[in-house]
Amino acid sequence: MLQAESLTCLRDEEALFAPIDIDLPPGHLLVLEGRNGAGKTTLLRALLGLHPLTAKSLHFRGTDVLRERHALCSGALWLGHLLALKGDLTVRENLRYNLAIGDEDAAEDVDELCANLGIAGYEDTPTRSLSAGQRKRAALARLAASRRPLWLLDEPFANLDGPGMAVVERLLATHLARGGSAMLTSHGVLPITLPATTVRLEHAR
Amino acid sequence: MNPVWRWFHQLGSPPYFYRFATRWMPWFGISALLLTVIGMYLGFVEAPADYLQGDSFRIMYIHVPAAWMSMFIYGVMALNGAIALIWRIKLSELLFLSCAPIGAMFTAITLITGMFWGKPTWGAYWVWDARLTSELVLLFLYFGVIGLASAYDDLRQGARAAAVLALVGVVNVPIIHFSVKWWNTLHQGETVRIMGKSSIDSSMLWPLLIMALATKLYFVFALLLRTRSALAEQERGKQWVREAMVEAA
């Protein structure tokens, strides 16, 4: 799915971390580790073209991403620190809009997505009036509807309670079983039991 | 406790106010209607035409009472706003909110009748004279109060925020009243005086006073009506509202 050789991100024209190699086949999970400020968030954003990166080679499903920067954008679903929810709109409206703008399956039933994520009953609540964890769940509901092969998730477990983490684990398991791949960042002990490769970002020098 | 204070305390309790409003509302409504009819008849049929302005002066019987009410209601509103801010009494918040649209209506009537009166007398619908401008500002203050209150998700927070604005805007009311004295304006100076002699003939004065009383009564009627339904809406989960609904049905 995603192969990279000697990949690193640039900040002020300097490498942020020692170059890493990535080999993420379909159906696999990759965990990005590293201390605070190691460059995990930056790496995910850089893959999507939101930051400069350098690499000997970088391929996504056979396409050379270094040449066609746009290739990853239509094949990857990214959830960052910011959740891209409009506080004034309800969970349902936010989800509908997110699915449409990402060109995901239109037929998805929003009530079902919410039930999956454990926020049933909040479909018509403005996201402004949700707790931190509920808001995270609303953002994660996109995953359940997504058919994109690669998921890039930045700290997907932050703010979630135990059952919430289990939901994310289930979503990941289904996705991997369908032949998708995922790359996620997390701190400390991973609260899930899925098999995963770990890549650690270390100081550049 | 002093009986007057006790009565106020009782009135502040939602169920008591609801019953009070239900009982007295019709009386205020009916007497307002009656007085309006009498005032209109005296003003528009009985009173003699003005030697200068002809019949256009009759707009006065709507314009002047409405103008007085626009300022009076602002005062009542600001007073309730202050009570709501200081003692956080729910009923004052609702009374405060109910005043704004009624006051805005009277202000709009003042402006519109004034404009139609201005065309024959001054030759223009609108001039930027101090009284006219400050009355327009009053309209915007009412709009500001309504807009700010509705911009908050929480009714009580909205009411208190709007109350701060209403209190700040109180300075405008004396400006409206004294504008004719402070600046030389096109607008009519003070004609009707409570103390001393009014510079208006009594055949013209009486209908005006009747209309002034009618608008006051109408205001109380509209205020009770609006506050009553807002109260029932806000407390809809409570036992006494359900009882009152059953009673009404």
Partner: protein, 227 residues
């Protein structure tokens, strides 16, 4: 028309966000009336003094009211991560910009144009100038929206850009203002407003073809994806 789905979704979302607070829809009108009021009182207020300046004052007021809405055009989308999602997603940014521009014009341009008769009355604008004023404003606000969308995109990632935004927008507004008041002036002097209106329309068409792609490019600045 599934190809249009993302753009429709954005248009619907922007309109919905605006309608969520219904009072907001009347507020541009309120602002315009207030600026007119400030000018009325500041200029002393007699009809003879007001009439000659009323058309320009209305133009400036409408442009200012539209201008005030620009800060909210992209800023919320930047702050909550929506913009990053657009840039990281498959949808054409140029298309999204057209949807944004349309929503903005529907919400502000149309509303302000429709409120002109009221402003005109407050400022004693001669009634026979009203039709040309309305036509010029309808075209002009569409152009102004395009200018606004470029400026808002350029300043979207900056903090406290309010006044920088003004600095970018105002000079670009000038040609619209010149031909816009020109058309009204022409009618007052008994000439045909056609020339001025045509030039105004030409500018607007030019802006319509240039502005959304320019705005898309501006949003890409700071991200690594080529436009």
């Amino acid at each position: 028309m599934t190809a249009l789905r993302p753009y429709q979704a954005l248009l619907a979302r922007d309109l919905r966000l605006a309608f969520r607070r219904r009072a907001d829809l009347l507020l541009p009108l309120g602002f315009a009336v207030l600026v007119v009021l400030l000018f009325g009182i500041a200029l002393g207020g007699t009809p003879e003094r007001l009439a000659p300046v009323s058309a320009p004052v209305i133009w400036v007021t409408v442009l200012l009211a539209g201008f005030l809405s620009l800060d909210g055009l992209f800023r919320p989308d930047v702050d909550d991560g929506t913009l990053d999602q657009w840039l990281a997603g498959p949808t054409s940014i140029v298309g999204l910009m057209y949807a944004k521009a349309l929503a903005h014009w529907l919400l502000y341009g149309v509303g302000l144009t429709l409120s002109t008769p009221l402003l005109a009355m407050l400022l004693n604008l001669p009634v026979d100038l009203l039709p040309v004023m309305l036509a010029a404003l309808a075209i002009g606000t569409l152009g102004a929206t395009q200018i606004g969308i470029i400026a808002a995109a350029l300043t979207a990632r900056l903090r406290r850009s309010g006044i920088l935004l003004a600095l970018i927008v105002m000079p670009l507004y000038l040609p619209l203002l010149i031909f816009g008041s020109g058309a009204v002036d022409a009618v007052r002097l008994g000439e045909s407003p056609k020339g001025a209106l045509l030039l105004l329309a030409a500018q607007t068409v030019l802006l319509l073809t240039l502005a959304p792609p320019a705005a898309a490019a501006a949003l890409r600045i700071g991200s690594d994806n080529p436009p």
